[in-house]
Symmetry: C2
Subunit: 106 residues, 2 copies
DNA sequence: CCTAGTACTTTCCTTTAGGAAACTACTTAC
DNA sequence: GTAAGTAGTTTCCTAAAGGAAAGTACTAGG
């Protein structure tokens, strides 16, 4: 079941792009994420952030500014995804070169 | 895009369980996979095998038996998923212990 | 000619994922 | 009081994923 647990956390179109944006930028506010994560709609961003927070991958901090802003960032647990992400990226790159290249050539 | 390429190959409910069954057993026939991959229906197995084959993760060999049987196994390229799979498994196990355990305890 | 076993494929249906647009609620500046 | 900026939520819709059951096509055995 460990495989399924991990895939559930990462599945869907947006979770990895959101994690990627937070990995690169550190803290980001809701509106920043809307701009950084290309093409995402507010509904999906809101929903995915809630799921990632419930899995303790990111933290949500309401700042006492006016108007209020909300900062999201990776938790320590979220940062442990580093190895998974680089491994997936490396294989995706290999696969892209080996298989997807051939498909286009054919 | 490498991330998306890799996730496409592994996404969905059944691809990883199918790869897992082939990793453990070596060669398996269609009916073997129906039995090994718990809960999968013939339609889904057939569709997922075709996708995995088109991505060169598995090979499909028709044997000249009566009735004919078809053997599936991981290709060399499919075996390069090893690192990804163990990394995902390791993280899933960590996540399960850290987060899913807490959820049940709460 | 009927049954059983192989490997699928087809049909019909429900569930889930995702998206566009409008709307809520609060606050500050004008 | 109204416009603009914050962070969402709600509604309504389409598309994609998944599942149960029946059907197809081939062959061998009785």
């Amino acid at each position: 079941m460990a495989m399924r647990d991990a895939m559930d956390v990462l599945s869907g179109k947006w979770k990895i792009p959101i994690i990627g944006a937070l990995r690169l930028n550190g803290k980001l506010r809701f509106m920043d994420l809307l701009r950084e994560v290309d093409g995402i709609a507010a509904k999906m961003l809101s929903k995915e952030l809630a799921l990632l927070e419930s899995n303790q991958i990111i933290s949500r901090t309401v700042l006492n500014t006016k108007p209020i802003t909300v900062e999201y960032e990776l938790t320590e647990h979220g940062k442990t995804l580093e190895g998974v992400i680089t491994e997936i990226w490396k294989w995706g790159d290999l696969h892209r070169k080996k298989v997807i290249g051939e498909k286009k050539a054919a």
